[in-house]
């Protein structure tokens, strides 16, 4: 497949007849690749494509677009966003991993793809963080365990004492929502049935309609219903309390070893020259500092997690190991069946 490596286009607003003539001279094709010097002095040599392994509209897409918009000025090149959904992002991630390591093609990484999905799918579908140059962490998106307000259940203590079997809704197989709940219920000794839904919205609808007893969904999705008093937040699964839901304890505070959050980072193919990475890092730093980007985070209830790339890679690898250990220890199988 062809990467958009080089093209200058779309400054043409003139009449169409004229535009064609201009287009032929002003537009570079994107078929033939051109080689870039490895010292990064020529970087960026055209638009830097940011690949997103999710469909437009989801939180990964929103984050990618907000970042691209605010970083392109600092980089001195446009950052077009290309959505390539497929296999929870594995498709796009693998594709960028095999792209030319010149910094012109980047990808947004989801931590769950490296740390949680491998627990649910076969080994050859899994992706490894070592195969990427992580430029910088972006942000953290927290999961919250909610119950229907009508049930009156507000704390973990009430849940454990309820003495009944719970149907818990997850946002899908191999997601943080599933892992967090499965671990929590096993540790708390609650008898639960894992009911996977296709994303957060249907899981929440099922909870609101009392089709299931509890659900774990991403904070931004649950917040409107929590504020409206229709859902009770029980615990959040982040390591520390979430700034947007400061009154809700973490699972760890409630006494359960379940630290699960969705982290995101931006990465380039392995072997991208250090000077290029440096330029990219600086551009994203400027973006993080901009008011527009901060407002975006606040509006979507994301917590900044703008750690250094090397640290991110280390953290995610550690998370992957920890989840694997926890899953074995508590005999949690995300593959549902078996």
């Amino acid at each position: 497949m062809i990467k958009s490596t080089f093209s200058r286009r779309s400054v043409l607003g003139a009449g169409t007849g004229l535009a064609l003539a201009l287009a032929l001279t002003a537009c570079g094709g994107n078929v033939a690749g051109n080689s870039a010097p490895s010292d990064g002095s020529k970087f960026p040599s055209g638009p830097v494509t940011l690949t997103i392994g999710a469909a437009p509209g989801g939180s990964t897409d929103l984050i990618g677009r907000a970042l691209a918009e605010n970083a392109s000025a600092g980089l001195g090149a446009p950052i077009p966003v290309v959505n390539k959904p497929g296999a929870n992002g594995a498709l796009a991630t693998k594709e960028v991993g095999g792209a030319k390591a010149d910094g012109q093609t980047l990808v947004i990484l989801n931590a769950s793809l490296f740390a949680i999905t491998p627990l649910a799918v076969s080994a050859d579908e899994a992706v490894k963080i070592e195969d990427y140059e992580v430029i910088t962490g972006i942000s953290q998106d927290d999961y919250v365990l909610v119950t229907n307000a009508g049930s009156g259940l507000k704390t973990m203590e009430q849940l454990t004492k309820a003495g009944k079997k719970f149907n818990f809704a997850t946002t899908g197989v191999g997601t943080g929502s599933q892992l967090a709940q499965a671990l929590l219920f096993k540790q708390a000794g609650i008898d639960g049935t894992d009911v996977p839904f296709d994303g957060g919205a249907p899981a929440m609808t099922a909870l609101l309609g009392n089709q299931v007893d509890v659900a774990t969904i991403q904070l931004a999705e649950a917040m409107p219903q929590i504020k409206a008093g229709k859902l009770n937040p029980v615990v959040v699964f982040s390591k520390e309390r979430n700034q947007y839901l400061a009154d809700t304890p973490t699972a760890i505070e409630a006494g359960y070893d379940v630290p699960v959050s969705q982290f995101r980072a931006v990465a380039a193919p392995k072997g991208t020259p250090e000077p290029v990475l440096e330029k990219l890092r600086a551009a994203f730093k400027t973006a993080f500092a901009s008011e527009a980007y901060k407002a975006f985070n606040k509006q979507n209830l994301f917590t900044a997690a703008e750690n250094d790339g090397a640290q991110v890679a280390k953290d995610w690898a550690a998370d992957a190991a920890k989840f694997k250990e926890l899953a074995q220890k508590y005999d949690v199988d995300l593959g549902g069946g078996k």
């Binding site: 093209s7 169409t16 535009a19 064609l20 287009a23 537009c27 094709g29 994107n30 494509t49 069946g337």
Partner: protein, 195 residues
Amino acid sequence: MTSSSRQEAPLGTSTPHAASGTGSSAIEADPVEPLTAEQLAAEWDEERPPHAGPLANVAAGVVTALLGVAGVAMSLSMGIGTPERPEAGMWPLIISLVMAVLSVALLLFGRKTLDAEAFSSSSLQVAAGVGTLIGFVLVIGLTGFEIPTLLLTFFWLRFLGKETWRMSILLSAIVTAAFYLTFVVALSVPIPHLF
């Protein structure tokens, strides 16, 4: 003229027929309206391609039956599980079984139904058309979309559409330019392009 209408033709002709009963014969001599529903139906029927004969349904039945059997085999390898704890293969197994059983039913009872169309020499045009599409996708990644677009349009106009040489050359150039302007210049779609 449209395929959708032709496909509906039997339905369209049967209802007025049923509703009119013998009434339609009364207007046969009418000079203003020489065309009754029946005649129109007959005319549409003539335009329909010839029936393919009973072998077509046998062939279709065999193909879908094989699909069903393959589906059963693959589903079994995925694991079935129990009704309480179904594995991944349970649902595809059920569908594949339904498909296989109905295919056998088609083989047994559907042979007399003449609802398939015979292939004719003009079916080769379709094959040629598909060939150009495959060629189009094969080269689009190497050369960008402009040259294959030009060639495909030209081929369809000149050889499948029997347009004149002049018309075909002119139109294919215009179409290619229009696509370039729409997708590359106006919409900035990251499609492989040469210019």
